[in-house]
C-alpha cells in the first residue's frame, strides 16, 4: 500500500475511534479486522490512552457465562457469606463505556444474542429485581482475527456496528503520525452532538448512494446519518456539511456494499422496478408536508415520477439542484475508492453477489461446527470420573435445598467441627457431571455432470433430489451441497446448506453444457467431503453422471486419458472411505460408469430404474442411515 494511501487509511481508522468515543451507543461499534500486532495495539492505544482515557473498557471473555454477562446471583460470594449476593453483569458495568470483544469471530451466537438484546433495548435487567431495567448503553469494539474467508464475525453482530476497519494492509510507518485529538475535543464534541442536525437532503443523498451499492439494511442508513453528526461535532461545527456526508458514506457504507452501482442509465430502471410494488402513496403526502417544506420539488422527482422516464427528469434536477447530484456522484466515488481492488472485481460480476452471501453463510457453518462438537446437554447425577467434568452449578443447586437439614444434622453429630454453619455441605448424591451431545449431521454432496445435451434433464432431477432431501430433513438438520461439472472445471454451485430457500435460489440459475472433467469433479467432491468430516459431520456423496469423461485433470480434452484420471481419483474416494451413491444417468446402463462406481466402492444405480428426484433422495437418506 502506498504511503499516502496507507496514511489516510490510518487516519480513517483513528477517526472511527473518535466518532465512537463521541457517540458510542448511537454508532454501535467498530469491528477491527486485523491480526494481533503492533498496529492493532497502536489503534487501541489511540482510543484508550489518547482520546478517551477515563472511559471504562470492559473485556468480554469468549467463554463468558450468562450470569457474568447479564448479572444475577453471585454464586461465589453467596456461598462465602451464606446469604444471597447479587452482582451486576459485565454489560451493566460497561454503561457509558466500551465493551471489548477479543476474537470476535469466535463468539457464540448465544452470547451475541444476549449482547444485542441489551444493545437494542439500551437497558439491562436489574440483577436482583428482574422486573426492573437499568439503563445500559455502551460502544462495542470487536477484534476480528478471522483469516479464512468464511471465518469472520457473525453478521448479526456486524450489522449492529457502524464501522469496520481493516488494519492488515497497513505498514508500521503508515501509523507513525496520529490525529491530534485530545480528550477535551471529544468532551466538547459530545456536548455539541445533541444540537447538531443533518439536513434532509443529505439524508436522501446518503440513502440514495446506499441503495446504489445494494446496502439494504435501514440500520446502515441510520448509522451513516449519526456518523455525519458525530463528524460535525468532532470538527467543531454546529451543522453537518457535505464533507461530513462524504466521509460518513465512506466510513459506514463502504464495507457494506454488496454490488457496484450500475451506470446511471442502467440504474434508473432498476429502481423503478422496485417502485412498482409501492402502493404507499397515501403515506407520502403527510411526510412531505411535515419534513420537506424547504424543497418539495426535489422529493417529488425521484419518487413519484421517477418511474422509468429518467431522461426527462435528470436535466430538470440538474438545473435546480446541481450540487445534490454532484454530491451523490461524490458519495459513490468515495465509497468506490474504499472498496479493495480484488473485492471490486468480485462485486462487479453477478457471482459477486452470490459470493458475498456465501461469506455470511460460511460463518454459520463455522459456528455450527462448535455446536456439533458438543452442545451442552442437561447434566446428570453422577461422579466426575473418567474424564467427566463436574457441573458445579447443578451440584450446588442439588445440594442447596438440604442445607438447613444437613447443618442441623452435622451440628448434632460433631458440634465442635461445624461451628461455622454457613459452609455448604455437599454429599456424593448431589454431584452432577456435564454431558455433551454429539450430533453428527449428514451433509449430502451432489456431484452433477452438467455437460452435453442431456444436461438440462439431469440437472432438473438433481435439483429435485436436492430440494426433496432438504424438505425431508428439517428434523435431522441435515445439509445439502452441490458441485457441478461443466466445461473444464468443477464448481461448487451450492455450498453446504440447510436452507431450502437458498438452495432454490442458487440452483435456479444453474447452466449446463460443456465437457466432462470427471476426475476434477471427484477430486473436488473428495476435498469437500473431507472438510465436512473435519467439522464433525458425515458426508454422503451422490454422483450423477454417465461416466464418460472427456476432460483430464489438467483440463485438457481426451477420452482415454480422462478416463484413466477419473479411475485414479475414484480410487482416492474409495481410500477415504466415503459413502457414495453412483447414479448412472445414461439411457441404458454404461460399462464405464459401472467400472467407476466399482472403483470408488459406490452403490451403483442406473437412472432408468431410479427416475425421479424423490427416489434419489430416498436412496440417499437410506444410505445415510447405514
Amino acid at each position: 500500500m502506498t504511503t499516502e494511501h496507507g496514511q489516510s487509511a490510518w487516519f480513517d481508522a483513528q477517526t472511527t475511534a473518535a466518532l465512537l468515543a463521541i457517540d458510542p451507543h448511537g454508532l454501535g461499534g467498530i469491528c477491527i479486522k486485523s491480526q494481533f500486532g503492533p498496529i492493532r495495539d497502536a489503534w487501541f492505544a489511540f482510543l484508550e490512552k489518547q482520546i478517551a482515557p477515563g472511559a471504562h473498557y470492559q473485556k468480554i471473555p469468549l467463554q463468558i457465562q450468562d450470569e457474568q454477562l447479564l448479572g444475577g446471583l453471585d454464586l461465589e460470594a453467596t456461598l462465602q457469606y451464606g446469604k444471597p449476593v447479587y452482582s451486576a453483569g459485565l454489560l451493566a458495568k460497561s454503561h457509558g463505556g466500551f465493551i471489548v470483544l477479543p476474537m470476535a469471530e469466535r463468539i457464540s451466537p448465544h452470547t451475541i444474542a444476549h449482547i444485542l438484546q441489551v444493545v437494542d433495548r439500551g437497558e439491562v435487567r436489574h440483577p436482583q429485581n428482574t422486573a426492573e431495567f437499568t439503563p445500559c448503553a455502551f460502544g462495542m469494539i470487536a477484534f476480528d482475527e478471522g483469516i479464512a474467508p468464511d471465518e469472520s464475525m457473525h453478521p448479526r453482530l456486524a450489522e449492529h456496528m457502524a464501522f469496520e476497519v481493516r488494519l492488515d494492509p497497513l505498514s508500521l510507518n503508515n501509523c507513525t503520525d496520529s490525529l491530534e485529538i485530545t480528550p477535551t475535543v471529544i468532551a466538547e464534541a459530545k456536548k455539541r452532538l445533541p444540537g447538531i442536525e443533518c439536513d434532509a437532503s443529505f439524508i436522501e443523498s446518503l440513502l440514495q448512494s446506499a441503495a446504489a451499492f445494494g446496502v439494504d439494511s435501514i440500520r446502515a442508513g441510520l448509522f451513516a446519518v449519526r456518523a455525519t453528526k458525530a463528524l460535525a461535532a468532532l470538527r467543531n461545527q454546529n451543522a453537518v456539511t457535505e464533507d461530513e456526508v462524504v466521509d460518513a458514506a465512506r466510513l459506514v457504507l463502504t464495507h457494506r456494499a454488496t454490488r457496484m452501482p450500475s451506470s446511471r442509465e442502467e440504474q434508473e430502471p432498476d429502481e423503478s422496478a422496485d417502485d412498482t410494488d409501492s402502493d404507499e402513496d397515501e403515506e407520502l403526502p403527510n411526510e412531505q408536508e411535515s419534513k420537506s417544506e424547504q424543497d418539495p420539488k426535489e422529493q417529488d422527482d425521484p419518487n413519484q415520477n421517477g418511474d422509468g422516464d429518467t431522461d426527462a427528469n435528470e436535466p430538470k434536477e440538474n438545473m435546480e439542484q446541481p450540487s445534490r447530484d454532484d454530491l451523490e456522484e461524490l458519495l459513490i466515488e468515495a465509497i468506490k475508492a474504499g472498496i479493495p481492488a480484488n473485492a471490486l472485481a468480485q462485486l462487479n460480476t453477478e457471482l459477486g453477489r452470490a459470493n458475498s452471501k456465501q461469506g455470511s453463510k460460511g460463518q454459520f457453518g463455522q459456528l455450527q461446527k462448535n455446536a456439533n462438537s458438543g452442545r451442552p446437554a442437561e447434566s446428570w447425577r453422577g461422579l466426575p470420573k473418567g474424564g467427566k467434568r463436574l457441573d458445579l452449578l447443578k451440584t450446588i443447586r442439588a445440594a442447596v435445598p438440604w442445607q438447613t437439614m444437613r447443618q442441623a444434622e452435622s451440628k448434632a453429630k460433631l458440634p465442635a467441627v461445624n461451628k461455622q454453619g454457613s459452609r455448604i455441605q455437599i454429599r456424593a448424591d448431589d454431584l452432577h457431571v456435564k454431558r455433551y451431545q454429539q450430533r453428527q449431521g449428514v451433509v449430502t454432496i451432489f456431484l452433477v455432470d452438467a455437460s452435453g445435451s442431456s444436461a438440462t434433464q439431469r440437472l432438473a432431477e438433481a435439483k429435485g433430489a436436492v430440494e426433496q432431501l432438504l424438505a425431508d430433513c428439517y428434523i435431522r438438520r441435515d445439509e445439502v451441497a452441490m458441485i457441478a461439472l461443466r466445461g473444464r472445471s468443477a464448481d461448487v454451485v451450492l455450498p453446504p446448506t440447510r436452507s431450502l430457500v437458498r438452495a432454490k435460489r442458487n440452483l435456479a440459475a444453474l447452466p449446463g453444457g460443456g465437457g466432462t472433467p470427471l476426475a476434477t469433479g471427484f477430486a473436488a467432491v473428495n476435498e469437500m467431503a473431507l472438510s465436512i468430516r473435519r467439522k464433525g459431520m458425515t458426508p454422503l456423496i451422490v454422483v450423477m453422471t454417465d461416466g464418460v469423461a472427456n476432460v483430464t485433470l489438467e483440463g485438457v480434452g481426451g477420452r482415454e486419458r480422462a478416463h484413466q484420471d477419473a479411475l485414479h481419483t475414484a480410487r482416492q474416494l474409495r481410500a477415504a472411505g466415503h459413502a457414495i451413491l453412483f447414479i448412472d444417468t445414461a439411457s441404458a446402463p454404461q460399462a464405464l460408469a459401472e467400472a467407476l462406481a466399482k472403483e470408488m466402492a459406490a452403490q451403483y444405480l442406473p437412472l432408468p430404474y431410479i427416475n425421479s428426484g424423490k427416489a434419489i433422495s430416498q436412496r440417499a437418506a437410506y444410505l445415510a442411515r447405514q
Binding site: 454464586l75 448465544h110 437494542d120 441503495a211 439494511s217 422496485d274 411526510e287 452442545r375 442447596v400 424423490k614
Partner: protein
C-alpha cells in the same frame, strides 16, 4: 423503562402491522411469524406493541398474572385463597417478553430459587420467561436458530397453554398462555413444520425498496432519537386512536358472524392448497372475524377471506419440490382462481 418508538410511526410494513393488530384483537388466532432480513424494523414493531395494549387486571403479586375473574387460578393463588388470604387486584401492562436466542432452559421454564433455598432452606420455584409471558406476548428473534430442545418445549407449551416443571425436586404446573411472535431470516435455517404450525399468521417483510419510504424511516428515527418525548407527543393522538380501534374491535369481535358461504369457500381454498389439518381453516375463521371487527363491520365476507388467506396459509403449504414459486405466489395463484 426506555421509551419505545411508537407503533403508528412505523413506515410501511402494513402486512406485519395488520397481522399484529389481528393477534391483539383475537389472541386465539395463535401468534405471528415474521420472516425477513435484518434491519427491517421487526424488533421495533414488537417493542412498540406494548404501548398499544390496554392494561389487564391481575391478582396482586401473582407471578403468572392470574386473571381475578377466571374460573380457576394458578396453584400459587389457589394456595393463598385456601390459606384465607384475601386476593387483591391490580392493573398492569400486558407483558411483552423478549426471549433471547441464548436463553437457557432454566430461564425459560423456571428453576429452583437459589436465593430462597440458600437463605431459608426452602424449595421455591422461581418462575421463568414462560411465566412472565403468561397472558401476554413472547417474542423470539431468530426463532429459526433456536436450540432444538427449546423448540420442543415451545411446541408443547404453546399447544397446552401450560408449563409443566419436573426438575430439581420441583413438581409444578402453571398457566403459560401467550401469543408467540417469532422472527427470523429463512436463509439462515428452516423452521420445523410443527413449530410453523403454532403460528397463526405469517408475514414476509423486506426493507422498503422505495427510496422515499427509506428516507422517511430514517428521518422519523432521527427525530425520535433527537427528542423522544416530543416525538411521542407528536404521535400521541394516532396512538390513542389506534388503541381505541383495537379496543372497539375487541368489543365487536363477539358479534361478528362468518356466513356458511364464506366458510365453505375457506374450506375449498384449504383443500385446493393442500394445507395439512384443520388448523388452517380455524385460523382463517378466527382471522376473518378479527379482520371484520378491525374493519368495523359485523359480517365477514369473501373479501376478508381474500385479504387474510396469504397471512393465514402461506406457512402451512406442503413443500413441493417441483414448484419453484414461493408459497405466497402459490396462495395467490389459487386465490386468483377463486375470486
Amino acid at each position: 423503562m426506555a421509551l419505545n418508538f411508537p407503533f403508528t410511526a412505523i413506515v410501511a410494513q402494513d402486512e406485519m402491522k395488520l397481522a399484529i393488530a389481528l393477534s391483539t384483537i383475537e389472541p386465539s388466532i395463535g401468534g405471528v411469524l415474521i420472516f425477513g432480513d435484518r434491519g427491517t424494523g421487526k424488533s421495533t414493531t414488537i417493542r412498540s406493541l406494548a404501548a398499544l395494549l390496554p392494561p389487564m387486571k391481575v391478582v396482586t403479586g401473582c407471578p403468572y398474572h392470574c386473571d381475578p375473574s377466571a374460573p380457576t387460578l394458578c396453584f400459587a393463588c389457589e394456595a393463598r385463597k385456601t390459606a384465607g388470604d384475601k386476593l387483591k387486584t391490580d392493573s398492569v401492562p400486558v407483558p411483552v417478553v423478549d426471549m433471547p436466542l441464548g436463553a437457557t432452559e432454566d430461564r425459560v421454564v423456571g428453576a429452583l430459587d437459589i436465593e430462597k433455598a440458600l437463605s431459608q432452606g426452602i424449595k421455591v420455584f422461581e418462575p421463568g420467561l414462560l411465566a412472565k409471558a403468561n397472558r401476554g406476548y413472547l417474542y423470539i428473534d431468530e426463532v429459526n436458530l433456536l436450540e432444538d430442545h427449546l423448540v420442543d418445549l415451545l411446541i408443547d407449551v404453546s399447544a397446552s397453554g401450560e408449563n409443566v416443571v419436573e426438575r430439581e425436586g420441583l413438581s409444578i404446573r402453571h398457566p403459560a398462555r401467550f401469543v408467540l411472535i417469532g422472527s427470523g431470516n429463512p436463509e439462515e435455517g428452516e423452521l420445523r413444520p410443527q413449530m410453523l404450525d403454532r403460528f397463526g399468521l405469517s408475514v414476509e417483510v423486506r426493507t422498503p425498496q422505495d427510496l422515499a419510504q427509506r428516507i422517511d424511516i430514517i428521518k422519523r428515527r432521527d427525530a425520535f432519537e433527537r427528542d423522544p418525548v416530543g416525538f411521542l407527543a407528536q404521535y400521541e393522538d394516532s396512538e390513542a386512536e389506534f388503541k381505541e380501534k383495537i379496543l372497539s374491535s375487541r368489543k365487536r369481535l363477539g358479534k361478528v358472524t362468518v356466513g356458511d358461504d364464506v366458510l365453505t369457500l375457506a374450506t375449498k381454498l384449504c383443500a385446493q392448497l393442500g394445507t395439512d389439518g384443520l388448523r388452517g381453516e380455524l385460523t382463517l375463521m378466527r382471522g376473518m372475524r378479527a379482520l371484520a371487527a378491525f374493519d368495523g363491520v359485523r359480517k365477514a365476507t369473501a373479501e376478508h377471506l381474500k385479504r387474510l388467506a396469504p397471512l393465514a396459509l402461506r406457512h402451512r403449504l406442503r413443500r413441493n419440490p417441483l414448484d419453484d414459486s414461493s408459497s405466497t405466489t402459490r396462495v395467490e395463484r389459487v386465490l386468483a382462481n377463486f375470486f
